[in-house]
Amino acid sequence: MRRFTPLFLAVFALFSAACEKKSQPTPAGTDSQGQAAQPAPTGGTPPAADTLLLGEVSSLTGSQATFGVSTQRGVEMAVKEANAAGGVKGKKLAVRVYDNQSKPEEAAQATTRLVTQDKVLVILGDVASSNSLAMAEKAQAAGVPMITPASTNPSVTEKGDYIFRVCFIDPFQGFVMAKFARENLKLDQVAVLQDNKSAYSIGLKEVFTQKFSELGGKVLTTESYSQGDTDFRAQLTAIKKTKPQAIYVPGYYNDVGLIARQARELGLSVPLLGGDGWDSEKLFELAGDALDGAYFSNHYSPQNPDERVKKFIADYTAAYGGTPDAIAALAYDSARVAIAGIEKSKDLTGASIRDAIAQTKDFPGVAGTITLDEKRNPVKSAVILKVGEGKANFVTTVKP
């Protein structure tokens, strides 16, 4: 036994070293300037260092990993652009990124670290509402403004007056899809399959069900699954029995891909309907052609002919390859709103940056024009996309 002990210690050391590396902060936006990352400023705000530090918490690993990667790229792009344009208040910007492994408890911990250790000016993140809720609590308590790029659950910004978002909220998405299903698709009877573990999914379901009934349709049955399940046949079998014209699945892409495949397999050939949680390249890989004919609501479409969007897509493609998804666009917008807030703030305290962000009006984002209301939510329109040939195609824009 003794012989192998060192071997095992070495193996475990290797693994823990590799894990450690993942959670190390990655300063972004400074590399292009060839400038080393600044050590975390110590003492009270405003920080004395000549770098303005933004914090980001994202799901870089775990079940929502593609969301995190897109977020990080969007933020990185915005910061690089701001630095290339001379920085903010004569200083360069940098981002400290922490991974939350797609878990709320990790997200909360990372936020605490950003506010207590790194003393960041603004926190950006996360995509999943459950993670953002955990973060918002900490950010609000510390008095550090937080902007979530894509958490659509209403309760996130209700956590306090330091919490903002640049995406529309769940009730709106549920409303949009209910309206589209009734008026454009002329559906009368649908079933709902919700994710019981996610506040996002339940939020969309509630408004969808309410609006769809108000508009004269009927929700036949509501089945539920738990995030991370891989076998949905029992729920789908129960749904099939009610003979719906469509199934509303307000879940995340990794579950939806499997749901689509298994629905087809059980002979359920009706279209699926969903929300922005579907938006990921991975969706099409997981679903194959099973999602053809499905519709989902989203924040933006890369097929939008707007000049601003075109430039964003070209820059993103040059930097990372591939087309940016909505999360990347929203993350880019969120970072730019944050940077504009820092620029406009009187001093660099949390309170003054908060006030500056709260006054955001007609801000030209790539995922729509952003005007924040008194509840710190933007008022903007949604797009409906139709899945076909392994991608999402622009169908129409639905205004609030």
Partner: protein, 309 residues
């Protein structure tokens, strides 16, 4: 009625996989009295081996009978090797130590594999779930009712899984009770020190037991991946736990017991989700385990043996 039949089919298909994974648990427990918590993660590694092989084969070749056999062969042989390594370097050095030590090591191996596979370096796949390629082209073998909206669908892979599982179980039962190797296994299980005195190569028997158990895990994992069309580094933890429950329900150490336990668990879960709610699934599954253990502490097929003093 038709819904009931469909739930039955789905439940048996899910239970078959649990049963196959449970066979590995039961075998290792039978011989070593060790609950190999890394079993599910060995399964996960096997699925990734199959996944890599399938990608290398390309779309045409992986759908053919030869392609499927090759995928299974690579995964099962690869896992047998992995099982050998784990037993040789993690469990064998602890064989004379208290049983708890080996159990903790097993949990350690399990976490090392499942979290190690989430790293995104070199050949490791990273944490995002991936779609498992269709190595068996799904075909409806039987439908009932309106062809547009069939009430009951029976798929080719469901039948294939069940046949494979039954064949493997029968093979295992034959191996344990009808061969010299099986007799040696049972002897080692009874008392490995005395077995060694009788000239049985204990270490080799245990190694081979581990290799067979791991190969079974790989096979089961591939069937699971075909069923659920996805593969992720954490799949082993979940399936492994369920298979462990199945093995305990059936009477751990008992081969037909593992099979029955797996099928029962699959059916119970399917009916709970189909007629109640998916949130109840795990609660009812573990409640069922407690119920079985209360009524028959040794599991359905197990015998309660007095501990040797």
């Amino acid at each position: 009625m038709s819904q009931l039949i469909q739930h039955l089919i789905n439940g048996i298909a899910a239970g078959t996989i649990y049963a196959l994974v449970a066979l590995g648990y039961t075998m290792v427990y039978g011989v070593l009295k060790l609950i190999n918590f890394a079993h599910g993660d060995v399964m996960m590694v096997g699925v990734y081996m199959g996944y890599a092989t399938a990608l290398m084969l390309g779309r045409q070749a992986r759908g053919s009978v030869g392609g499927v056999l090759l995928i299974f062969l690579v995964a099962m042989v690869g896992c047998a090797l992995l099982g050998f390594l784990i037993e040789r370097f993690a469990y064998r050095p602890l064989r004379e130590k208290p049983r708890l030590t080996a159990l903790i090591t097993a949990i350690g191996i399990s976490f090392t594999l499942s979290y190690g596979f989430q790293l995104d370096i070199g050949f490791l796949p990273g944490s995002a779930p991936r779609a498992f390629p269709q190595i068996i082209k799904p075909a409806q073998w039987f439908t009932l009712g309106d062809p547009e909206f069939p009430d009951v669908v029976l798929w080719n892979w469901q039948v294939i899984s069940l046949l494979v599982a039954v064949a493997l179980m029968a093979g295992l039962q034959f191996l344990v009770y009808r061969t010299r190797f099986g007799r040696a296994m049972r002897a080692v299980s009874f008392d490995h020190r005395v077995a060694a005195l009788m000239g049985i190569p204990t270490d080799r028997i245990i190694s081979v037991t581990f290799m067979i158990g791991s190969a079974l895990a790989a096979g089961a994992g591939l069937l699971y991946a075909i069923k659920d069309t996805s593969v992720s580094p954490l799949m082993g933890l979940y399936v492994g736990l369920k298979a462990f429950v199945a093995a305990v329900i059936g009477g751990i150490g008992n081969v037909p017991g593992a099979m029955v336990g797996g099928l029962l668990l699959g059916l119970v879960e399917e009916f709970v989700v189909g007629y109640a709610a998916s949130t109840w699934r795990d609660a009812v599954a573990f409640g069922f385990l407690i119920l079985v253990l209360l009524v028959r502490p040794g599991g359905l097929f197990g015998r309660v043996a007095a501990e040797k003093v």
